[in-house]
């Protein structure tokens, strides 16, 4: 085994390879609830070539590799379930190119959303990307690999829909370009009009290759931002409210949330409606359209827009939203995990009731939130439970609540997003057998030695 360490040192240098217990311990965990498993090595490559060499080494030695960004999916996707090498991608953090006219950026596989946000603010202030609410250390590559969502998801879909091309190191060590960049110098398409090969990597949780470059669509950044929060106490009304608001096609992002604390939020469902505009006129036009779209609910007194103080509004409009991360400390215990199934809107009311019901059943504190995807074609519903890391019983209860939530949603036909291995099994059990066979064959073809993040997407 020490040969592997020496080989890693030879590839990346002594400073960036570790077999110390401290790194093996820390990289064997994430902040969620999944059982840890220590890595054997942790390595931090700086170039695609170094990634290739590491992957080839892993193939030779039949040692697992787990590529890692920040580990903030919270579902154990970066835990090396079978040991091996955890490859921390964050040294590959360059922002390589911005094409303003075509509105895209190309970044390295460890570049963070925070760095991109700052880069665009300073150098391309009329462009933006779809920033998730997760902390700014979240890497762009990992976020698209798990089909993450962000502040533009209502308008443009999953963050993975915004991919414009990839450079991937295949599990066998070859470097492969995906999309228009495979033919020419531009990164304007991840597939169309050619066969869309990005589907071999996006959503596979790092089991089919290592993303070393990502091309990402950028979008117009407007001068003025504002937020309206529409509040109802009847969850059954939410699907229709969302349907009406999305009909206006005027809203940048739509998020729904419900929580027990602080007390002022208890018992209500809040719909955050983000508006952007380049002028007052545009803003007010959009605002009026949104208001008018739900006037019937205002007239019936079933719902109303919330007045909020400017500090609260600033917190909500902050992107990423720091206050969302603070949910982890509600139990003064540094932990939360969420199952975020993707569901059709009509399932919202049941999920909204379920998240609260499970919180009571398992005696855990919940946050139930959701994000509308691409105009309401579907949404992400988050069953989030916070826990005290020093209370093993509470962690277990949170785990069981999440499992029951996953089963519940899967039975209803929802899809489990960024699934932990438990949830992957739930999905695979319900999957069409030919679909599952296809997935298995693709994995086998791309990763014949089974080294890429093994344990994930493994059908029995």
């Amino acid at each position: 085994m020490s040969d592997i360490y020496e080989a890693l040192v030879k590839i990346v240098g002594k400073d960036y390879a570790s077999n110390h217990h401290e790194e093996r311990y820390f990289y064997g965990r994430d902040p969620g609830l999944m059982t840890p498993h220590e890595a054997d090595y942790v390595v931090m490559p700086a170039t695609t070539e170094e990634v290739q060499e590491i992957v080839k080494l892993a193939n030779r030695e039949k040692v697992p590799i787990v590529p890692k960004g920040a580990g903030l999916a919270l579902t154990g996707l970066v835990i090396p379930l079978k040991g091996g090498i955890v490859m921390d991608m964050k040294r590959m953090d360059k922002i390589l190119e911005v094409n303003e006219n075509a509105r895209y950026v190309v970044v390295e596989g460890g570049a963070t959303h925070g760095a991109l946000r700052d880069y665009l603010n300073k150098r391309h202030p009329n462009l933006r990307n779809s920033l998730p609410e997760s902390p700014p250390i979240t890497t762009i590559a990992a976020n698209v690999v798990i089909h993450g969502q962000g502040r533009l998801t209502n308008q443009y879909g999953f963050n993975s829909d915004m991919v414009n091309g990839l450079e991937v190191v295949l599990p066998t060590g070859e470097v492969c370009k995906i999309g228009s960049c495979s033919v020419g110098p531009y990164w304007f398409s991840k597939g169309p009009p050619l066969p869309d090969l990005s589907g071999l990597f996006l959503g596979w949780l790092g089991t089919t290759g290592v993303l070393t470059k990502v091309g990402l669509k950028l979008y117009p950044k407007k001068r003025i931002k504002d937020l309206e929060i529409f509040v109802t106490d009847k969850e059954d009304l939410i699907p229709d409210i969302i349907f009406k608001i999305t009909h206006t096609e005027m809203v940048e992002d739509l998020a729904i949330w419900a929580q027990e604390r602080p007390l002022m939020f208890r018992g209500n469902y809040h719909i955050n409606t983000f508006l952007t505009a380049d002028s007052e006129g545009e803003l007010e036009m959009k605002r009026k359209m949104v208001y008018d779209s739900v006037q019937e609910y205002v007239d019936s007194k079933d719902a109303g827009f919330m007045t909020m103080n400017l500090d609260m509004r600033r917190d909500f409009m902050d992107n990423p939203q720091k206050s969302m991360t603070a949910f982890a400390d509600v139990r003064r215990g540094g932990g939360f995990e969420y199952a975020g199934p993707i569901i059709p809107l009509e399932l919202y009311p049941e999920c909204a009731r379920k998240v609260a019901e499970l919180a009571v059943k398992y005696r855990v504190v919940y946050g139930g939130s959701g994000r509308i995807i691409h105009g309401g074609h579907c949404m992400m519903f988050s069953f989030a439970y916070t826990f005290n890391r020093a209370d093993l019983d509470e962690m277990d209860r949170a785990r069981r609540a999440l499992h029951e939530a996953a089963e519940f949603v899967a039975d209803k036909g929802g899809l489990l997003w960024k699934p932990n291995i438990d949830e992957q099994k739930i999905m695979m059990e319900r999957m069409d057998p030919n679909t599952l066979k296809l997935m298995t064959n693709i994995k086998k073809f791309l990763d014949p030695n089974g080294i890429m993040n093994p344990g994930n997407w493994e059908a029995k």
């Binding site: 400073d15 960036y16 570790s18 110390h20 217990h21 401290e22 790194e23 311990y25 820390f26 990289y27 965990r29 994430d30 902040p31 942790v42 931090m44 920040a70 580990g71 903030l72 921390d88 964050k90 040294r91 963070t112 925070g114 760095a115 946000r117 700052d118 880069y119 603010n121 300073k122 902390p135 700014p136 250390i137 720091k322 206050s323 991360t325 603070a326 982890a328 400390d329 003064r332 215990g333 540094g334 932990g335 939360f336 005290n388 890391r389 020093a390």
Partner: protein, 386 residues
């Protein structure tokens, strides 16, 4: 911070990673993370490993020690952490260090630091009798003097620190300020000793200092170093101190404003490094800038990360001696020297002898000698006196 406090709280870190960044997320702002890049070297890594050590899941090792002691306690993490416990983070780290000191689990460099302060009264292990060698006839403090000028270990013994001390003495003399120094009677302030967790030695130092100040009837202290300012302002009172303390920039700002010293034009283009113990610790951001702006002809330009987002020089927690973050172009001082140079400034102004030491070396390593001067504010003012 009681040991029990940190042990019962440290599990609350969510490892969200906000602690790695400044406010605009432009680059990494945690010195050991920037230097080493393993997540273990960030604040969250450190806190998780301390918790693991407490639970017996990770044993003491040189690696763990390195993770723990490369934290310069710069407080960027406190500034950025979204959790309610953010103000306690550095206390937790200090608490863990203190726990380890009690158990005798400290790395050799840290042990040597303690031994030097214990035996010689300074971490450089130089003779007590030489503490005032720089002073060159500077007046000793006598009862009735308005201020005690507290020089500190680096100001007394380090070559660059001594230049700072002399410059400041010159300015105060010209301004007619009533002050004196303690010379070789001066005791280490204990800030680094506290940050490194040697609470027994810290208490001894504070008691000695407090006693001395009391005997001399000291009512007001000016410090050269923000480290001394910080510990005397925030830690000494709980152990019986009864004096006002100022960092010298607070005084100089008023001296210039009130025309107590006359300044000639100085056509330097200057950028300013906010020292952690003045800035993030004590929220003193504007006084040094006001001094620089009041010098005719001087152009002040800001680094992108400034004030609460300033990137630490890497010298805190005794690292100006122990240098655990040294080596390579990712050492914090070199990174920051490059950032300073990128502003187009010809001078990097500091207000701290630790920053002075770290940047003087960094500028050399970056081949910026002759292109970027490193000067303390006291030196800039002293050079500009009419």
């Amino acid at each position: 911070m009681q040991q029990q406090d940190y042990a019962s709280q440290i599990h609350r870190c969510f490892r969200c990673g906000y602690c790695k960044f400044p406010t605009d997320y432009s680059s990494f702002n945690c010195p050991p993370y920037r230097r080493f890049r393993f997540d273990t070297y960030s604040t969250s890594g450190r806190l998780w490993l301390i918790y693991a050590w407490l639970k017996g899941e990770v044993e003491w090792s040189e690696r763990l020690a390195e993770v723990l002691y490369t934290c310069t306690t710069c407080k960027n993490c406190t500034e950025q952490c979204p959790m309610k416990f953010a103000p306690d983070i550095v206390d937790w780290i200090v608490g863990a260090r203190s726990d380890m000191v009690e158990k005798g689990r400290i790395p050799p460099r840290v042990a040597k630091f303690f031994e030097a302060v214990y035996g010689y009264g300074n971490p450089l292990k130089l003779l007590r009798s030489d503490r005032a060698a720089w002073a060159n006839g500077t007046k000793m403090y006598a009862p009735g003097d308005e201020y005690l000028l507290y020089i500190g270990c680096l100001g007394s013994y380090d070559e660059n620190g001594q230049k700072m001390a002399k410059a400041l003495v010159n300015v105060l003399d010209v301004a007619g300020i009533s002050f004196g120094i303690l010379g070789s009677d001066e005791e280490c302030c204990g800030n680094e000793i506290y940050m490194l967790g040697e609470m027994g030695l810290f208490q001894t130092l504070v008691e000695k200092n407090n006693q001395k100040f009391k005997e001399l009837g000291v009512k007001k202290i000016i410090t050269l170093s923000p480290h001394a300012y910080n510990v005397m302002k925030n830690r000494y009172p709980a152990l019986g101190a009864n004096f006002e303390v100022y960092h010298y920039t607070q005084l100089l700002k008023d001296l210039l404003k009130e025309n107590k010293v006359k300044i000639s034009p100085n056509k330097a283009k200057v950028t300013y490094q906010d020292p952690c113990f003045l800035g993030r610790y004590n929220k003193i951001y504007e006084e040094p800038r006001q001094i620089l702006r009041s010098i005719p002809g001087l152009e002040l330009v800001e680094m992108e990360k400034n004030r609460a987002d300033a990137f630490c020089c890497g010298g805190g927690s005794g690292n100006f001696i122990m240098d655990l973050l040294a080596g390579g172009e990712d050492s914090p001082a070199r990174v920051r020297a490059r950032e300073a140079y990128a502003t187009g400034a010809d001078t990097l102004a500091v207000a701290c002898p630790s920053c002075m030491t770290m940047f003087t070396d960094a500028v050399k390593s970056e081949d910026l000698d002759g292109k970027l001067a490193v000067k303390d504010i006291s030196q800039i003012v002293s050079e500009s006196l009419l």
